[in-house]
């Protein structure tokens, strides 16, 4: 009985303090608290995720990381993202670095049903393979088509809604594109076939300022090289 009353008092305290603050502040601080709790629990299992420098691709491909680096099979050393003084790169360039605008919309190739936009929540770029069912389905469809058409390359363009700064949206759009890229790679698509780009909030799919419009603009779009 006492325990129940203690819990009731705790809930009352939390509700009183929460009501003093705006909803957005509560959301932000809850996210912050969630991150710390998550890190604390992870650290119990030895998964400490402090900042670290990547000296090689092996370092980066840690057991808990979800990001996958570019294929450096042509690299002369194991180091990733290091260019030597002579100017020769030590990593393979993706083949699809040509002008994004020269890539085709999937509808031009009659495969738009396989390349539906992937949408995101506000400020989010992470796709949970278990809970984000619709996003995973769309990416799976894209992966299947790409496996069936090995000569095609894909450009993933990350976009954001209008509400945050241009600088923030540049990076957020990039994260969204890279998230989809990582999942495509995990589905067996060669990294060299995938390029990413971020347009931030500069190329909205819809104009306007409403929740519906914003939702349509927070997306990753697919474009394809000609077959």
């Amino acid at each position: 009985m006492r325990l129940i009353r203690l819990v009731q008092l705790l809930a009352l305290t939390v509700s009183l303090t929460s009501c003093q603050r705006k909803g957005s502040e509560v959301v932000e601080d809850t996210r912050t608290a969630g991150r710390y709790i998550g890190r604390g629990i992870s650290s119990l299992w030895g998964n400490v995720r402090e900042s670290r420098q990547f000296n090689s691709a092996d370092d980066f491909h840690g057991p808990q990381d979800s990001a996958i680096g570019y294929d450096d099979s042509q690299a002369s050393s194991s180091q990733v993202a290091f260019a030597d003084v002579s100017g020769k790169t030590t990593y393979a360039k993706p083949t699809s670095t040509s002008d994004y605008d020269s890539y085709l919309n999937p509808s031009a190739l009659g495969c738009e049903s396989s390349f539906q936009n992937v949408y995101f929540e506000t400020n989010a770029y992470f796709i949970n393979e278990n809970s984000d069912v619709d996003s995973m389905r769309r990416i799976e469809q894209a992966a299947q088509w790409l496996k069936s058409n090995p000569q095609a390359n894909v450009f993933l363009a990350g976009h954001c809604d209008e509400r945050n700064t241009a600088a923030y949206n540049q990076v957020l759009g990039l994260n969204r594109a890279n998230m989809v890229r990582d999942i495509l790679i995990s589905k067996g698509i060669n990294a060299s076939r995938i390029s990413t780009i971020s347009f931030g909030k500069d190329r909205p799919a819809m104009m306007g300022s409403s929740a519906e419009v914003w939702g349509k603009n927070r997306r990753v779009e697919f474009k394809l090289s000609s077959i």
Binding site: R2, R5, L6, L9, L12, T13, L16, T17, Q20, K22, E28, R31, A33, G34, R35, R49, S51, R52, Q53, F54, F60, Q64, S66, A67, G69, Y70, Q79, V80, A81, F82, A83, D84, V85, G87, T89, Y91, P94, T97, S98, Y100, F126, E162, N164, T165, A166, A167, Y168, Q170, V171, L172, L174, N175, N178, D182, S195, T196, I197, S198, D202, M207
Partner: protein, 439 residues
């Protein structure tokens, strides 16, 4: 039971009282009144001088009136200013500009010290652009005489603006928005222009920028004269936010070769380009970093990271080239504000400016490094972003827009409560970078 109630109230009361502390930046109390006198024949010169001295960050130009003009004429006749009279008028400084033999002659007077100086033989030049430049130089000479530091009237700025073709190219203009010219001809969107600081005694001749001309955004360096950029960084990935340090020895930037936007720093030589290997100086699981900004001595870097959920401003020591980054110590800067972006370290090293979401609107905040206090600089309903400091650290310039609207550029002296619009929203002007100088 009573103890339980007491215990929870003890916890709850501080939380209930936990209102964010907002300290408004002190404004007009530090501006010194200045009286400017120019004859009607020098109306255009007067307009430029009035703007420069009104937004110098140290002075507030008084309104013209007949009594003060009479006093000026009397003082000029005897080539001596009356300290008593100007103290009575409440003018800390007096500037009187006259034309003599097709050149300008400026009498500049400090009331408190009763000191009079004459800047003479100030040639104006022939075309309108040259006249503006010379008058801006005069403004800076006046400012330096009064305060012993360089003004910003003759500095330039870079920014991106939309062309008739619909692309955002890099433009350059005087700091007041005049003499605007398109610098790049990428025929693609450009972002993040930033001057490469010049060596001592020179003004910048080159700049970095990001262009989408090759599809993915890449960092380029171009001479201001031609605007023809050359790729700087060979990493085959998206590249953003180039930021050189003041000594031109390092370039910080954001890139994602490892599938996540991370901070990199690489040694740089203005004659050769990037040297050695780019060094990834900060990364964390499911975290992105952006907006790097060096301290003036180059030893520290301020940047934005969302490692704790909401993007915040952090500081870290810049590691030695090739040094170990496995034990990085970050210092959180923005404790009061949240959802921060676009940080910029002031040239004097004393402050960091950034944006923060404030009651639903993005405002510019300033962090004082010595006092560790955050203060809100801007107000109003439009979103502000991309703050950039003037060379003397007395001003911020930023772009501002309403929801869904295009961006305009605003100049905001820290000591003045309201900013002044420099470039109109019709241009969609963004990403301003004010010219650095050796101050």
């Amino acid at each position: 039971m009573r103890f339980s109630v007491f215990f929870f109230l003890l916890i709850a009361l501080p939380c209930l009282a936990d209102e964010p502390i907002v300290v408004k930046l002190k404004t007009d109390s530090s501006l010194l009144p200045l009286y400017l006198s120019c004859p009607e024949s020098l109306k255009d010169v007067a307009s430029i001088l009035r703007f420069d001295l009104s937004y110098s960050g140290k002075t507030q130009v008084l309104a013209t009136d007949a009594a003060k003009e009479s006093q000026i004429e009397a003082d000029l006749r005897v080539k001596r200013f009356s300290q008593a009279a100007w103290k009575k008028f409440g003018a800390a400084y007096v500037v009187s500009v006259r034309e003599k033999d097709n050149k300008l002659e400026a009498y500049i007077y400090q009331t408190d010290s009763n000191q009079l100086r004459v800047l003479s033989d100030w040639e104006l030049g022939s075309d309108a652009g040259e006249i503006r430049r010379r008058v801006h130089n005069l403004s800076d000479a006046i400012f330096k005489n009064f305060f012993g530091i360089e003004g910003i009237a003759s500095t330039r700025m870079l920014f991106t603006a939309r062309t008739s073709a619909g692309h955002n190219e890099v433009f350059e203009a005087d700091y007041d928005g005049a003499n605007m010219r398109q610098v790049t001809s990428e025929e693609a969107d450009c972002l993040n222009p930033v001057y490469l600081p010049a060596k001592s005694g020179y003004t910048p001749g080159s700049f970095f920028y990001v262009s989408y001309r090759k599809g993915q955004p890449r960092i380029y360096i171009a001479p201001l004269r031609s605007g023809k950029g050359k790729a700087v960084c060979r990493i085959p990935a998206n590249q953003f936010m180039p930021m050189p340090n003041k000594s031109r020895s390092k370039l910080a930037f954001v890139t994602d070769p490892l599938g996540r936007a991370d901070l990199f720093v690489q040694d740089f030589d203005p004659e050769i380009g990037l040297l050695g290997k780019p060094q990834q100086i900060f990364t964390a699981y499911r975290t992105t970093a952006s907006s790097p900004s060096f301290s003036p001595d180059g030893s520290k870097l301020a940047f934005i990271s969302d490692k704790t959920g909401s993007p915040r401003v952090y500081m870290m020591r810049v590691p030695v080239s090739g040094g170990d980054c496995s034990q990085v110590n970050l210092e959180l800067v923005s404790k009061e504000s949240t959802e921060n972006t676009c940080c910029a370290w002031s040239p004097d090293g004393k402050k960091i400016a950034y944006t923060a979401m404030t009651k639903g609107v993005r405002q510019i905040w300033v962090y004082d490094i010595a006092t560790r206090k955050e203060t809100q600089l801007t107000k109003g309903g439009e979103h502000k972003e991309n703050p950039t400091w003037s060379a003397n650290s007395l001003h911020l310039m930023y772009d501002s827009h309403a929801d869904g609207g295009t961006c305009s550029l605003w100049l905001h002296p820290l000591a003045v409560p309201t900013p002044v619009k420099i470039v109109a929203a019709s241009k969609n002007a963004r990403f301003a970078s004010l010219e650095p100088r050796s101050i």
